[in-house]
Amino acid sequence: MNAATQFDTLPECAETQRGLIAVAMSGGVDSSAVAALLQQQGRAVVGLTMQLWNQRRLPELQGDGPAQHRCCSLDDVYDAKAVAQHLNFPHYVVNFEEQFEARVVRPFVDQYLAGRTPIACTNCNTDVKFEPLLRMARQIGAERLATGHYARIRRNDQTGRWELLRARDETKDQSYFLWGLSQEQLSRSDFPLGELTKEEVRALARRVNLPVAEKPESMELCFVPTGNYVQFIQAYSQERGISLRSGEGEIVNENGDVIGRHNGVHNFTIGQRKGLGFAAGKPLYVLSIDPEKNRVVVGEDDVLRKTVCEVEAVNWISREEPSAPLRAFAKIRHKHEPAPSTIEPLDVTVARVTFDTPQRAITPGQATVFYDGDVVLGGGWIR
């Protein structure tokens, strides 16, 4: 099947609302293809590109890399604008620097300094893209906001709830980052790429001659374009006057025996093997991080495997909060194969996840997302 026929057979949008739709445009191929797709469906499109980070900040991190690897680079903004001009719909750059820093960057740094391993993209989705950006989209007259996420939304007529589903293209699925969305947010969002593969999206981009059709994908966190979190956290903390407690500390084994020294807990993440900085008979992994005692606890691989974790800020999507334990496949990181488990609600926003078999490196700060097949039941932050 070629891309054109695939495109022609795309299902209609869940609602028959034919008014203005806003597209969140990063300047990449995915969100650009969304705009093209919606326009071909006869929708009136307005493009919005978020300015999230002032590039003049932390210039020491920008390095000499090509501009496309810099956060919120003007090149990306120009790319989005070029796509809008090519397709001939209105496009605006909107400033969300303040919200992005308060809701994404600062919590990200604070979490790392607290010995956790945060997922900034989830916060950005829940608290920026589908919050102030969605609101702005509605304020300027759009009913809905479409994004380039690979995931699916559908309304369940029996339950009346909006459901979040995995993308058809499993290799691109981003549902793990979207578990925080409320019913209200889902009801006003569109993920037109959920039914497409990346190849089909590129083919579509080429077919309509998008100027970004051949643009490489960005894999890194947008505000840490170098991928070097430690360097970013140090530079940001220094700029904001956040105390780093980064002095050296102890590396201990499970018994509390000191077996080495480290250079700051924010350099470590659970399950990490590299950078422990000393030799050992068997490979050692980071088991836990104790920022209070400035300690990194290490141990062997089998100790890293755990069966139980607690999650907080739990959000249920395809169903209401269960009153009894339920079975689900739980995914503890983006690249984790969902594992059979029992989810036991402890109170409205806290649940205990018990896996049938031990899982490696359950990491505080990451999310556990509960799946029933392709359907996202809900999720929560790992304590």
Partner: protein, 398 residues
Amino acid sequence: MNRVYLDFNATTPVEPEVLDAMLPYFSAEFANAASIHTPGQKAGAAVETAREQVAALIGARPQEIVFTSGGTESDNHAIFGVVAQSILAVRSGETAKHIITTAIEHEAVLNACQALEKEGVRVTYLPTDRDGQIDLEQMRPAIRPETVLITIMHANNELGTVQPLEEIGRIAAEADVYLHTDAVQSAGKIPIDVNASRVDLLSLSGHKLYAPKGIGALYVRGGTRLRQLLYGGHHQRGFRPGTENVAGIVGLGKAAEIACKSLAEDARRASTLRDRLQQGLLQRVPQSRVNAAAAPRTPNTTNLVFPGVEGEALLIALDLKGLACSTGAACSSGAVEPSHVLTAIGLPPEEARASLRFSLGRHTTSADIDFALNVVPAAVAQLRELSPTYRKEAAAKT
């Protein structure tokens, strides 16, 4: 779509008469104004006519007008030029030169001053009151023996507020300090007389007064010690080298001539329409206020705050309905940045972000104002409906 443009402080269209005057100089009369031959002399004569026309607009002598690429170049030339050429009196004991400016200048002045600060020049940024007016009693003591330049904008681009240039000029003259004024937003809108106001340097820009973009002028009072910014050939007496933009210069001259003739009538018309827009919005939009309402303002400008609204979203909503207006400043990506002007007049950040500027033009019609009065209140109401903070406040009041 019906489009109404109320953003004439950003730029103006080239007046048809101006365009007609310019057209011959692109092809038929293409010669270099510095050439010795007859075609060159013809182009040179057109440049000199334009110099007279621009001089007449501000009460200057033609030889005191230097054509530049626009307001930014004029501002930079004046500021860097004066500072570079100035000599500190040895007896003052100071080694750092000093400039006085205001907190509400255009970026062309502010960023030039900040660049000089990095080179060791000291800068005083005079504050303004809530109406965007500087306090002359604060300005006087700010002048020091090592002060080499006072640069204060005539009319502000965002608010339209006009500074008391004649009094500023008198204080500067008494202190024997050079005075530069950025008159980009006032030229053609309100009368300017460089002698009455005793300014030594004045910047103006073509595209703000119905001439094209890429042409401007710097008035330099005879005898002013000013280093040139660019080095090159002998054009404009070697003071501003670079082959003259003859068509642009002719356009600026023609536009200045028209402005001279129609200034009083334009101002009367614009202020009538502006006041109707302002009053209408105040009546139709609950809790709206005019920023810097008590100050003398250019007749075409009004800046309103609509509490509970993001100006950025309002601007976009209005643009999608066909009304073009402006928030404060845009950064290089095009996103809206908090306005340093609105912050400087003491607006809290949320009100600065909730402000919108409407600036009228020579050909703005009563129907344009009706359109704005129709779409703006509806758009504000729609934004407020979806604003969590505004709804909370409204709920708290009832």
